[in-house]
């Protein structure tokens, strides 16, 4: 079974991917790290820059297991203030 996921890109990550968001389908059991591998392969312009990850508006680590309709956000270190 496949999960329907949405990936959001911000700031430098949006510039590198050329996208603000896109749907992604991954196998059940996929983690945040799998999403990262997927987008790094799809968008080589992301290079090796450090990306922070959030799931459904909360920071989440790479081993976080995803569920149907999760929204995963990717962004470089924050710089507000």
């Amino acid at each position: 079974m496949e999960l329907h996921l949405t990936v959001l890109f911000f700031a430098a990550a949006a510039d590198a991917s050329g996208l603000r968001s896109r749907p992604v389908r991954l196998q059940k059991g996929a983690t945040v790290a799998d999403v990262l591998s997927f987008v790094r392969a799809e968008y080589p312009a992301l290079g090796s820059q450090r990306l922070l990850t959030a799931v459904n508006e909360e920071y989440a680590p790479g081993d976080r297991l995803l569920v149907e309709w999760d929204e995963i956000a990717l962004f470089t270190p924050v710089s507000g203030g």
């Binding site: 508006e57 962004f75 710089s79």
Partner: protein, 151 residues
């Protein structure tokens, strides 16, 4: 600045917001004047002309808005737990900002000023580490996303 143009999140210890309108430091500083308090400490952060030796023309802030509001709300709750303060307001501006314009205002009211100073400084430091807001520096010879402050 009109408060109704701000995307806001209320918590028991204050509120936070995001807006593309210019920020009114005095209005924010005086949002709360709790009767048990004698002091409010306010941090006004604004656009510097020179960063690491380069001249900034203007800045652009973007944000993961829904998450940024939640994270700012958590900062307020954590600060209220750790410091003896009464009310906190955090408002961050988004979009294009010119030199000297305010990007963020953090205002903390407390019965005693020591806690207000401590909480205000902790809030700006932690906001810069955690809240998903991103600053693009536009220079005369190019632009780049700011690397932010290291934690």
């Amino acid at each position: 600045m009109r408060f109704e143009k701000i995307a806001r999140l209320e918590t028991t210890s204050g509120f936070c917001g995001l807006t593309t309108e210019s920020l009114d430091v005095g209005l924010i500083a005086r949002s709360f004047i709790p009767e048990e308090c004698g002091a409010t400490v306010t941090l006004d952060g604004y656009v510097r002309r020179f960063t690491r030796g380069r001249e900034t023309l203007h800045l652009v802030y973007e944000s993961y808005e829904s998450m940024a509001l939640k994270e700012m709300g958590k900062l307020i709750d954590e600060a209220a737990e750790h410091f003896d303060i009464s009310k906190i307001v955090i408002i961050h501006r988004l979009g294009r900002l010119e030199i000297g314009e305010t990007s963020v205002v953090i205002s903390v009211s407390a019965p005693h000023r020591r806690a207000a100073f401590e909480a205000c400084e902790w809030l700006i430091t932690t906001l810069k580490q955690r809240v998903p807001i991103f600053k693009k520096e536009v220079y005369s010879d190019g632009e780049e996303w700011s690397p932010g402050e290291t934690a």
